[in-house]
Amino acid sequence: MRRTLISRLSLVTLGAFLAASGAKAQTTQMELEVGYRWANVTGNEDMYRSQINERSGFLIRSFTLSTNDPNGATGGFLDRFRVDVTDLGFGVAPAGAARIDMGKTGVYRLTLGYRETNQYSALPGFANPLLAQGVIPGQHTIDRTRKMFDANLELLPGKMITPIVGYSWNQNKGPGQTTYFLGQDEFRMNQDLKETEQEVRVGLGFNFGQVVYGQVLQGWRQFKGTDTTSLVPGAGAGNNAGPVLDQTVVSATSMNQTGITNVNTPFTNVNVTAAISKRFKITGSYIQFNATQDGMSGESDAGSFTSFKLDRFFSGLSQSVSANAGNKTWQGAGRAELGIVEGVDLFGGFQREHRVQSGTSLIDTIYLQSLTFGGMDKKDLEVLLNTQNSLDRTSDVWNTGVSVRSVGPLAFRGEYRETSDHTLMTPDLSEIVVGSTGGQGGPVDRMVRTIDGNVTFSMSGFMAMVAYRRDSASAPVFRTDFIDRDRYRGRVGYGTPGNEIRVGFQVEETNQSNDYTATAFSAKNRQYTGDLEIAPVPELRLRGSLSQFQTNSTVIYRIPQNLTLDNSLNVEKGDAYEGGLSLNLAPITFDMALGRFENRGTNAFNIERYRMNLGWDIVKTAGIVAEWARDKYREATPSLGDFDATRFGLYFRWRP
C-alpha cells in the first residue's frame, strides 16, 4: 500500500516537476485531477461491488502530461513525452491505467503501459444452493486484482530496419471462495490464487522503400500459477443435508489442495507486405506457437465420505497428480488487394490454421479406510488413472470481395467467405460417460458460407447505411450452433454542418436457427435505437436516446429428472432511456446524465443511473471538480441483490 502510494504520487510529482522546470524549454500541456471520493451504499453492498465497485478514498482521477521539444530532434535524449493516467486510486477505483509514450524522432520510441482491475464478485444467486433460505452471498466469491504491465521499445522507427524489444507482465492474484465436490457433497473452500504470465519478445521491423515491409517477431511466454484451497472453518457439514444411503455420513474435518501450473510458450509472428504497385498489394503472415504445460497438484482430505463410483464409504483421500498438456498451433495466410480503378478495390485471400492439443495426466488416488456399502473390507484403496487425450483441428478460410469506396455519395462493400473446420477428437476413456461416439470423440466437421455486404449513402450531412450478412452452415458442432443466420443492420442519421443538430436511428436484427429435429434451436435478437443531440447555443448541448431490445431463444432439451423433452426459453426484453446535457459557461462547466434500463425478461430487473459533474476553474490554471453519481438496482424477484449507491467526489484540478 505504502509503495503504491509513493509510486503513484511520484508519477504526479514527476509531471509537476516537468511542467514547472521544463515549461520554458518545452511545449508542455498538463492537466491533473486528484481528490477524494465518498461512497455510500444501502442494500446489498456485495452486489454493488460485483457491478460497480467504486469505493471511498483518494483518487487520481486523471493526469495527462504532454510535452515535446520545440527544437525538433536537435538534441537531448527525447523530443516528446506523454503520460496519461486514469482512475488510479488506492483501492478506490475498480479499474485504473497509466501509459507513457516517449521517444526521439527517428531514434527510438518507448511505450510503457500499466493497467489494474479489481475483480470482485459475491452474488446472491450464483452458486448458491442456500438462496431460498436467505443465505447470501453464494459460495463462489472472488476479490482479486489483475495488474498488467507492458513495455515496447522500437529503435530507429521509420527507418529501413527497426529493432523491437518488448516485455509484458500480467498477474491475477487474490482470495476467493469456491466449492469442492467430494463424497456426494460439496464443501465451501477458501481459495488463494496467484497467476503470473510474462512475455519477452524481440524482433525486427523492415521497410524497403515502401515496397516490401513487415515485421518478424520472436517471443517467449511463461505462465506460472499456484492455487491453494482449504476447507472454510465450520463448513464441514457440506451442502448436502440429507442422508446418503440412509446414513448421515457426509462430513469433512479437513480438506487441503495445492496446484502448481507452469506453461512455456515460444512463438513466432511474421507478416510481410509486398506493394507491387500502389494499387496492388500482397500480404502474407505466419504465426506459430508451441505451448507446453507441466502441472502438479496434491490433495489431502479427512472426514466421512461416500463414493457411488467405488460403491464404498471412505474416511479420507490422498491424491497426487502429474500432468502435461500441449498446444501446438500454426497459422498461415496470404491476402491480396487490387485497386482496379480509383476507389474500387478487389480483395481476397486464404488462411489455414492447424492446431494439435494433447494432454496426459497420471492421477494417483488413495481412498483411506474404504468400506463397502455392506460394511466389509475396511482398507485403503488405491486408484491409478493414466489418461491421454488429443484434439487435432484444421480451419480454413478463404474469401473474396469488393470495396467500392465512392460512386458519388454511395459506397458499397461485398464479400463472400467460406470457413471450414475439421476437428478430430480422441478423448480418454475416463472422459466417456455414455457410449464411445456421438459428441465425445471422433470427427466433427462444419463449413459456414457467408455473404456480407453493406451500402452507405452520404450527402450534405445525411447518412444512410444498410448492412446484411447471411451465414449458412453445413452442420452444428454444438446444439446451439446455427444452421442459418441472417443479420440486418440499418442506420440513418443527419447532422448539420456545425453539429447544432445530430439525429440518428438504428435498427439491428439477428435471426438464427438450427432446424434439426432433435434441436429446434432458434434465436431472434432485435434492437432499435434512436438518438438526438441538439446544441441550441454553442455553450449548451442536449442529448437523449431511446432504445428497445428483445431477444428470444429456444432450444429443445431433456429434463434430467424425468427425461421428458421441453423447450429451454430465454427472453430479454426491455427499454433503455438516456438523457443529458453539457453546459460550458467558462469558467464553469456542468454535465448531467440520467438513464433507466429495464429488462422484463427471464432475469427481470431495472437500473436507474444519475450522473452530475461540475467544474469551476477558479483561476486560469487551477479549479475544482465535483462529481455526484447514483445507481439504483432493483430485481423483480428475489430482491436480495437490490442496492442504492451514491458517490460524491471532490477533486482539485490543475492545468499549469
Binding site: 460485483s50 537531448g76 438462496l131 480483395f347 464479400e415
Partner: protein
C-alpha cells in the same frame, strides 16, 4: 524500487528534453516567405502535434509541415489568403491525403478493404481531428472512443452504459480498440477483433489463465470460443453469461437427445428441482479446463 525508477526517469526527462546546442535556424529566419503561422493560430498550435515531430525549430512550425496536406500555399499567400487557393482535405477525398503516408495494408490492417474503408460516410477524418485534438485524446481522436464509436454503433455503446455486468469501457485503459482494431480488414481469417501475438482470441490477452493448455479442456472453449458461453460486451447476467441461469446455459448443450453434437454427451442426469444442482459450477468448478478431472469437477 519504483520511486527510484520514477526519480531516475524524471532526471532523464529533465536533461533529455533540454534544448540541444545544434539547433537549426529558426523557421521564420527567412522572412522572404511568410510563415503559415503568421496568419493561422492552428499552425502555431501544431508545434505539439505528432505530424510536426522533428520538424519544428525554436518553437515554430515551418511551412513544410503544412504543405504535405495543404499543398504549396504560394498562390494562397499571393492572393492575400484566398480560401479557394489552398487545399483543404475534407471527406473521403481529403482522407486520401492521409493514406499517402498511412496506408495500413499490414497484417490484417487495411485502409481499403476494411469495413471502415475510406468512404464518404466513414473515413480517416470522421474519427481523427488533425488540428484540434484535445489533450486527453491520444492518436488525434476527435472524441473519446466510446462516444466516437457509439456515434454509429449506438446499440453497442449503450450496452456498456446500461447493462449491469460489462467491461469497463473508457476506464482503466480499456477502450473499444482494446479488443477491436478499427482499421482491421476481414480479409481471409482476419476477424473484427484483434488477435494476441500468438494468433489467439483477444480475450486471453488479459484473461491469460483461461487459455491453458489443459489435459481436459472444456469443448466449448477448445472447439468453440469464449463467446460460446459469454457475452463479450456486457450482459444482463452474472459473469457475462448468455443465459439467466447457469444450468440453462449448460443444459442447452449437455442434453442427451441425439448424438453428433459436442456436449450432447456427457448428459446431465441431475435433479434440477434440487437447489444443489441448479448451479452446475458448484461441482464443475474447473469449467474452463482441468488437469485431473475429466468431468471438470476439480
Amino acid at each position: 524500487m519504483r520511486p527510484l525508477a520514477t526519480g531516475g526517469l524524471a532526471l532523464l526527462l529533465f536533461f533529455g528534453l533540454s534544448p540541444g546546442t545544434a539547433g537549426a535556424a529558426p523557421a521564420g529566419a527567412d522572412k522572404t516567405v511568410p510563415s503559415c503561422s503568421d496568419c493561422h493560430d492552428q499552425a502555431k498550435a501544431f508545434v505539439s502535434n505528432a505530424h510536426a515531430r522533428g520538424k519544428t525549430s525554436q518553437g515554430e512550425v515551418p511551412n513544410k509541415v503544412c504543405t504535405p496536406c495543404h499543398g504549396d500555399g504560394t498562390l494562397h499567400i499571393d492572393a492575400g489568403g484566398d480560401r479557394e487557393k489552398i487545399m483543404k482535405p475534407v471527406g473521403r477525398c481529403g482522407a486520401e491525403t492521409c493514406l499517402d503516408c498511412h496506408d495500413q495494408t499490414k497484417g490484417c490492417k487495411s485502409g481499403h478493404s476494411s469495413k471502415h474503408a475510406n468512404s464518404e460516410a466513414v473515413n480517416c477524418l470522421t474519427c481523427h481531428s488533425i488540428h484540434s485534438s484535445e489533450l486527453k485524446a491520444p492518436n488525434l481522436l476527435a472524441r473519446k472512443q466510446l462516444d466516437l464509436c457509439g456515434s454509429c454503433h449506438a446499440s453497442q455503446a449503450a450496452l456498456f452504459r446500461n447493462k449491469p455486468y460489462g467491461h469497463r469501457i473508457g476506464r482503466g485503459g480499456m477502450e473499444c480498440s482494446t479488443c477491436h482494431e478499427p482499421h482491421q480488414s476481414t480479409n481471409a481469417g482476419c476477424e473484427i477483433t484483434r488477435q494476441t501475438r500468438t494468433g489467439e482470441i483477444v480475450c486471453v490477452s488479459c484473461h491469460a489463465e483461461k487459455k491453458g493448455p489443459f489435459v481436459f479442456p472444456h469443448g466449448a472453449g477448445s472447439v468453440g470460443n469464449c463467446m460460446t458461453c459469454h457475452e463479450p460486451h456486457a450482459s444482463n447476467n452474472a459473469h457475462r453469461l448468455k443465459r439467466a441461469t447457469v444450468y440453462q446455459l449448460c443444459m442447452e448443450c449437455h442434453s442427451p437427445i441425439t448424438g453428433g453434437t459436442l456436449g450432447s454427451q456427457p448428459p446431465s442426469f441431475h435433479n434440477l428441482l434440487t437447489a444443489r444442482y441448479q448451479n452446475c459450477t458448484t461441482c464443475h468448478t474447473a469449467i474452463h479446463g482441468s488437469n485431473r478431472s475429466p468431468q471438470l469437477v476439480r
